[in-house]
């Protein structure tokens, strides 16, 4: 809002404040707000040389991105020898470039970057590498391998594969099984990768046919809207894969509203609400495939290892790998307890 200094401005201010006072009682959001995190011990807990890690991510306007920030912060806190310089998240490429340049000028030891747009931030990645600061590229990949020392991220195609295989195994004895897909935002390449993986996995099961696909927008609202249409369009089907647990909240709502329970649903990403639903086993949601935000914690581990010139524990190499693609594990009732703490809101 523009600043107003006139008498009228004061008037607006008062109006806004009085509206605010009525509502402040309702804004606080504390509810035992534990961050989603993985308690696995770090690769090498022995304290070493002090390392300053610069962390730049996009604006946390989505539960998963919020979990990324929490994971990074909490992981860094675990190490006495790590100082984390975290920037205000931004979706504006220019702003993010500026933030990373500031971190470069501060001469941090290692940079962890989750770019708002991987391609657009390649140059600043190169710049950091040239300045002698190794870059851990998180999830959204830069254009050039020269712009990062190590890439770590999720596997969208693999997510589709995992979901497809899980559903395939569940339905393999069913004749003419029908499967539908509630995809994420179609404008994003990752949505297409997830769908491709899903289709590829289903090819292994000739008895299964994907009968419908609609794209939502990763939001609860769109999940509800598109799922309710899908349910109306398909009066009978056996399984549903939903790309994203956030929009899954809306999808589950639509399923409940339509009073349907005649199929099995698999989610995606690994939200806390999805884990809880899987654990209590009282809805159609039976499993979800991970796109784990714990990758941010691992990125901190890798950054620390880089800063202290260590390798990754459990691997034979002296150096950390150049790229790490995370496995999209399937979480169902059997193993959900183990993952509960990594679930994000």
């Amino acid at each position: 809002m523009p600043e107003l200094t006139s008498r009228r401005g004061l008037l607006f201010g008062t109006a806004a404040v009085s509206a605010g006072v009525l509502l402040t009682g309702c804004t606080s959001n504390d509810s035992s707000d534990e961050p989603a995190a993985n308690d696995q011990p770090a690769a090498d807990d022995k304290p070493g040389k002090q390392v300053t890690i610069g962390f730049a991510g996009p604006q946390a306007d989505h539960g998963w991105l919020n979990a990324i920030n929490d994971n990074a912060k909490n992981r860094a806190k675990k190490y006495k020898d790590v100082t984390l310089e975290i920037t205000e998240g931004s979706n504006d490429t220019a702003a993010q470039i500026g933030q990373i340049e500031t971190l470069i000028n501060k001469k941090v030891d290692v940079l962890v970057v989750l770019p708002a747009d991987g391609k657009a931030l390649t140059q600043v990645g190169l710049q950091a590498m040239r300045a002698g600061i190794p870059v851990i590229n998180l999830d959204r990949i830069f254009n050039s391998p020269q712009a990062y020392r190590c890439w770590i991220g999720g596997d969208n195609y693999g997510m589709g594969l995992s979901a497809g295989h899980y559903i395939g195994e569940k339905l393999k004895d069913k004749k003419n099984a029908r499967v539908i897909e509630l995809a994420g935002l179609d404008n994003l390449e990752l949505t297409q990768q997830r769908t491709d993986g899903f289709d590829a996995a289903l090819k292994n099961y000739p008895n299964i046919k994907k009968v419908a696909r609609q794209a939502a927008e990763f939001t609860v609202e769109s999940g509800q809207a598109k799922m309710s249409q899908l349910l109306q369009a398909q009066s009978k089907f056996d399984a549903l894969w939903n790309h994203d647990d956030d929009q899954g909240v809306g999808a589950l709502r639509a399923i409940k509203q339509a009073g349907r329970d005649d199929f099995l649903m698999v989610g995606g990403a690994g939200a806390l609400s999805a884990f809880q639903a899987i654990e209590s086993d009282d809805s159609v949601l039976k499993a979800t495939v991970l796109y784990p935000p714990t990758m941010a914690a691992s990125a901190i581990d890798l950054a620390r290892a880089l800063g202290q010139s260590k390798g990754v524990g459990g691997l034979a190499e002296f150096e950390i790998p150049a790229s790490l693609t995370l496995y999209s594990a399937v979480v169902d009732k059997d193993n959900v307890k183990q993952y509960m703490s990594t679930g994000f809101k």
Binding site: L23, C26, Q214, E221, Q224
Partner: protein, 339 residues
């Protein structure tokens, strides 16, 4: 050069010599033609839906579905219609819906139960509308800019409240409202709210001094001022009204989705403006139709429904939406100029 002229008996206008009984019917007919052309589009869509997916489309449940999905944006569009009729624009509706829906679903608000959530949603909507109205009416800001600023701030505040997290609603009374058991004679409560808002909106626009002033301000603000209408106060009320509609819509969205999220109401401003314009409300102000707006919303929702039932993907849906906006406006311009 000078010649005496006696006072003439009358001076019937040269332009419409036989205007006497005809022109009233022309006005009525024109309004009807506009509505009829929209009904025609809707009928054509229903035909397409009925042919392509007879079983799924022509079904009570589908009717309930379409109307339910139309309710949230429909209520927003009613408010938007008033604002556009007055010659203004409200770009902040989607952001206000988002802010109201997250403010009303925080853990703290939910402690106050059903009434707390409803009250907060409406109050936040009205509050944002008040700020818009004050800036535009008394701060002399251009509506486009003032509501654009509100769009940015409300979205920002919504993000700040949620941290990007989805706020699940746990109040049974609210959740039940969105479910089948609370349908009355087959009518979902959300649709009832939409219907009531539509009827009240129609009556206010067509049968009250408030509606008349809205049209006057939009048609000619200077003439309205010189006729003794308090133009600024009217503008304030109009943005308040739009905010109120957003608050109600936010509550409907909470009921529908069982949650609050800062991404709610994405691009509602464009959907609402598009529905109002294809409905026949003049973007320049001075003429507005609630019936047309609601038909516009129903046309869009029906298209989405037919496309989803036929499993067509979002790229095709978006192209078709654009084409329909252009077609509807062209058809209307033609009917408006030939009658």
């Amino acid at each position: 050069m000078t010649q005496p002229v006696s006072p003439p008996r009358d001076d019937t206008p040269k332009l419409s010599p036989q205007a006497e009984p005809g022109s009233w019917r022309t006005v009525a007919a024109r309004a009807d033609v506009r509505t009829l052309s929209l009904l025609g589009v809707l009928a054509a869509l229903i035909l397409i839906g009925g042919i392509t997916k007879p079983e799924e489309f022509l079904d009570t449940r589908n009717l309930q579905l379409v109307l339910t999905q139309a309710s949230v944006i429909g209520v927003v569009t009613v408010g938007m219609t008033f604002v556009i009729t007055s010659g203004g624009i409200d770009l902040s509706v989607g952001a206000i819906v988002a802010l109201a829906s997250v403010w009303a679903t925080t853990v703290a608000t939910q402690e106050y139960g059903f009434a707390g959530v409803l009250f907060t949603a409406v109050l936040v909507g009205v509050g944002c509308g008040l700020v818009n109205g004050m800036l535009i009416a008394y701060g002399a800001m251009v509506p486009f800019i003032a509501t654009l600023a509100m769009l940015a701030s409300a979205r920002g505040l919504a993000l700040q409240i949620t941290d990007g997290k989805t706020q699940i609603v746990s109040i049974e009374g609210i959740l039940e409202l969105g479910e089948r058991d609370s349908y009355v004679l087959g009518v979902p409560p959300l649709v009832m709210v939409f219907a009531v808002v539509t009827i009240i909106g129609w009556l206010v626009l067509n049968r009250t001094t408030f509606g008349r002033r809205t049209v006057a301000v939009g048609g000619n603000a200077e003439a309205a001022r010189l006729a003794g209408i308090d133009v600024r106060r009217q503008r304030l009320y109009l943005y308040l009204l739009s905010g109120l509609c957003c608050g109600i819509a936010a509550f409907l969205l909470i009921v529908l989705s069982g949650s609050g999220q800062n991404t709610n109401g994405n691009l509602y401003e464009l959907d609402a403006i598009a529905a109002a314009i294809i409905g026949g409300t003049l973007l320049s102000g001075g003429r507005g139709t609630i019936t047309g707006s609601v038909l516009g919303v129903l046309i869009f929702t029906t298209i989405t429904n037919i496309f989803a039932l036929n499993n067509l993907q979002s790229d095709v849906q978006q192209i078709a939406k654009g084409a329909i906006i252009v077609a509807a406006v062209l058809v209307q311009r033609r009917t408006a100029s030939t009658t």
